[in-house]
Subunit: 426 residues, 2 copies
C-alpha cells in the first residue's frame, strides 16, 4: 500500500477511536458546523465543481451525467439541509439492544457501538461525499470517501470544507478523509485495507458493486441493485394491479425500487394484459415480452437477458406464469433480491408469496416504491442492502453500527467448564 | 468449479428453499430423528472413526489431536443429546424483529428468515459435523460441511446417517451436505461459491480463519480467536484481581475466552505482582514478561510476539502500564477484539474502559471466561464472532438468520418521489 494511503487510513483509525465515545450533543454540534460551512463555502465549492463539469463536457459526458455532477447554490443548500436533518435524528450509539441479569447475578448488556472506519466507494455524485460523511459521523464512525475521479475537484473542496469545519469541534477533523489519488489503485488499496477499514459500502451501479464484492477483503455491504417484480395473481383485483404496476414502474423509473418485470398469472392474462399494456403504453413504457403477448397489446421481443435487466428506464420485461410457484421460481432465478410485490385478494396466496420469495422486501398489494428508508420512517438512508448479512433492505443509522457485550460482576468467577469440546480454541 | 461440487451446492440450495418456510415442529421432529439415528448407528460411526484414528496414528498425529478425533459410545450419546437440546430451543425464524403501521396505513414488519445455505469449514472434530448441521437446520438453513480430511471417514458416516434420518421427515435430506473431496481444492470451491453459499463460518485456529477471510468471496463470519486481557487497575481490589486472573487464565486454558495477557497499573504493581506471580506459579502458569518483572516473582523473558500470542496453554504474557489509557492502547494494538476485563473499584475507570475498549465483550470485575453462548443463556453456540458485521460475540440461533421486510397495503401507491438524488440507481 502506498504511504499516502496508509497515512490517511491511520488518521481515520485514530479519529475513529476518539469519535466513538463522544456523546450525541458533540456530534450534532459538529454536523451543524459542517452544514453552515458548506453554505458559507458555496462559492468555493461551485468553482471547484465547474472544473469537474468542464472536464466532463470536454470528455463528451452525457448531459444527464453532467446534471448529476453539477452543484449550484440551491443544491448546496439542500445538501446542507440534509446534514441538519441527520443531526436531528436520534443517536444509535449507546442503545441497549438486549440486556438481562444472569442467574449468577452478572449484569449483561448488549450496546450499540460504532463500526469504526467506513469506506464508501461511489460514482459521480458529489452530494454523496457530504451525505455519506454526515451519516458516518452521526453514527460515531470515521469515513474514507472514494468518489468518482470525475468529481475529484468537487470532492476535494467539500472534504476540505468539512475538515475545516470540524477543527474547532470535539469531533476530530481526521474523521472525514478523502482517499487520495485518482487511479483505480486507490480503490484497490481501500478494498485490501482489512484491519484498517471495518466495512466498505459501494454506492452505485451493478458493475461497481460487483467489482467491489469480488475483490475486497474488507467486509462489504452490497446495496442498491434492484430488479424488482410485480406479480399479478389469479385472484388479483385487476384495477389495483394496473395502478400498482404503473406506480412501481413509472412513478420514478431511475431508482432501484422501481419495477423491472411484470409477471401475470395465466388465469387472468387475457383480462389483465390488454389493460396493462395499454396503460404502460400511455405512460411511455416499452414492454419487452414474448412475441405471443402481442395479441394483447404493443410489445417488443424479449431475450432471456431482459429478465435479468435492471432497466432504470421506461422499459419493463413481462411474462405469463402458470402458477404462483412459477412466479416465485422466476423471481428466484432472475431477481436481485431487492423488492417483489404480489397483487392478490387471496390471503393464502399472499402468505405463500411472502414465505417463498427470498428478497429484502416483499410487498403485498402495494407498490415496490415503498422500499425506502424515508418511507420506512428511518429519517435517513445510506443505501438499500440486497445482501443477507448484517443489514437487509433500507439501511438507516443503526445499520452503521455494531454491538458490544458488557458484563459487570463483583468478582464473578466461572465454575463450569462448558461443553466437552468447545467451538473454539485448542 | 467441479461438477461434483456444483451438484452438492445446487442440492443444498434447493433444499434451503424447501426448508425455509417449514414450521418449528417439522424441524424439531427432524432433529429428534437425527439424534435417534446417531445413537442407533453408533457401531457404524465408531467403525468409520476407527479408520480415521488409525490413519492419524500412522501419520504420527499427537495423542491430544487423536483424542479430539476419537468417537466412542458415550461421546456419540453426548452428541445426540446436544441435537435434542437444540430441538428444545425456540425457533428464531418468523420472529417479528420490528413492526409498525406507517402514517399512510401500510403495515410494515421485519421478520427473521433463514440465511439460506451456510458453509462450515472446520478442523478435526467430528462432533462439529453434527452440531453445525443441527444448528443450521434448527434455524432453517441448509448446511455444507467441510471438515478436516483427517476426519473424512467419520464425517462421511455421520452425514450419511443424518441424511437417511431426514428421508422420512419434512426436512429435505439435501439440507445436510458434505463437501466432496479431500484436497484443498474443495475448500477453495466453497470459498468461491458466492451466490450458491450465503455465508461461511470457519471454526478452528487462527491460521484456518485467516486463510478463509483472505480468500473467500462468500461473506465470512470470523470466530474464535481470543487474545483476551485482564487489566488490574490502580483502584482494583487486589484479592479480586488475583482470583479473576487465575480463573480467566487457568480454569480452562485451551479455549478462546481464556486470558492470554495480564496488564497491571504501575501504581499497584509492587503490591499486586508478587501475589499474582506466586498464584500463577502455583497454578502451573508460565509468565512471559520483561525481565524487570523478575523482582516480583518468576518470569521468563517475553518478546513482542508474546503479546500477540493466543497461547491456549498454561502461559500468560504480562506487562506493567502507566495508565488506563495505556492499557487500552495495548489492548487495541495486540488484542484480537474478543474479551477484555478490567478489575477496579472505580466507577469512572470501569465506564472509561468499557467505552474505549473496542472488543466483542468487555468484562468489569468478572472473569473473561463468561463470554460464552451457554453462559449468556443462548442455549447453543455456533462460535464467538470477533468481527463487527452481522454478529459480534457469542452466536446463537438468531445470529444464523437474516431478516426480510414485509409490507401490506390495499393498493398503496407512492406519491412522493423522495430525495432529489437517491442513494441508488440512475
Amino acid at each position: 500500500m502506498s504511504e499516502e494511503f496508509l497515512k490517511v487510513a491511520h488518521a481515520a483509525r485514530e479519529a475513529a477511536a476518539e469519535l466513538a465515545p463522544l456523546p450525541r450533543a458533540a456530534k450534532d454540534r459538529a454536523l451543524r458546523a459542517i452544514a453552515d460551512a458548506l453554505v458559507a463555502g458555496a462559492k468555493e465549492i461551485i468553482e471547484a465543481n465547474a472544473l469537474d463539469v468542464d472536464r466532463a463536457r470536454e470528455g463528451g459526458t452525457s448531459e444527464a451525467m453532467i446534471d448529476r455532477l453539477r452543484l449550484d447554490e440551491d443544491r448546496i443548500e439542500a445538501i446542507a439541509q440534509a446534514v441538519r436533518d441527520i443531526a436531528d435524528l436520534p443517536d444509535p450509539v449507546g442503545e441497549v439492544v438486549r440486556g438481562s441479569t444472569l442467574p449468577n447475578g452478572l449484569e449483561l448488556r448488549q450496546l450499540r457501538v460504532p463500526l469504526g472506519v467506513i469506506g464508501i466507494i461511489y460514482e459521480g455524485r458529489p452530494n454523496v461525499t457530504v451525505d455519506g460523511a454526515a451519516l458516518c459521523l452521526k453514527s460515531g464512525n470515521a469515513v474514507m470517501l472514494r468518489g468518482s475521479s470525475s468529481a475529484y475537484s468537487s470532492n476535494t473542496a467539500l472534504v476540505a470544507i468539512m475538515q475545516a469545519a470540524l477543527e474547532p469541534t470535539e469531533v476530530p477533523s481526521g474523521a472525514v478523509q478523502l482517499v487520495p489519488g485518482l487511479t483505480r489503485d486507490s480503490v484497490k488499496e481501500l478494498m485490501r485495507a482489512r484491519g484498517l477499514v471495518d466495512v466498505l459500502i459501494p454506492r452505485g451501479g451493478a458493475s461497481l458493486i460487483n467489482s467491489v464484492v469480488e475483490e475486497s477483503t474488507v467486509p462489504v455491504i452490497e446495496t442498491g441493485v434492484g430488479n424488482c417484480h410485480v406479480y399479478v395473481d389469479a385472484d388479483a383485483d385487476l384495477d389495483l394491479g394496473v395502478e400498482i404496476l404503473l406506480n412501481a414502474k413509472a412513478q420514478r423509473p431511475s431508482v432501484c425500487n422501481a419495477a423491472e418485470t411484470l409477471l401475470v398469472h395465466a388465469d387472468v392474462a387475457e383480462r389483465f394484459l390488454p389493460r396493462a399494456l395499454a396503460a404502460l403504453k400511455e405512460a411511455g413504457v416499452t414492454v419487452h415480452a414474448d412475441p405471443g403477448m402481442a395479441v394483447h397489446g404493443e410489445v417488443v421481443p424479449a431475450t432471456e437477458e431482459d429478465f435479468f435487466t435492471e432497466y432504470l428506464s421506461l422499459d419493463i420485461a413481462a411474462a405469463v406464469v402458470g402458477s404462483l410457484e412459477e412466479a416465485v421460481a422466476h423471481i428466484r432465478k432472475y431477481g436481485s433480491g431487492h423488492t417483489d410485490a404480489i397483487v392478490t385478494r387471496s390471503q393464502g396466496a399472499a402468505r405463500r408469496f411472502v414465505q417463498l420469495v427470498d428478497s429484502a422486501a416483499v410487498a403485498v398489494n402495494a407498490s415496490t416504491r415503498f422500499t425506502d428508508g424515508g418511507e420506512f420512517g428511518f429519517g435517513a438512508e445510506i443505501g438499500i442492502s440486497t445482501q443477507k448479512l448484517h443489514a437487509r433492505g433500507p439501511m438507516g443509522l443503526p445499520e452503521l453500527t455494531s454491538t458490544k457485550w458488557v458484563y459487570t460482576g463483583e468478582g464473578h468467577l466461572r465454575t463450569s467448564t462448558g461443553t466437552v469440546i468447545p467451538a473454539c480454541g485448542g
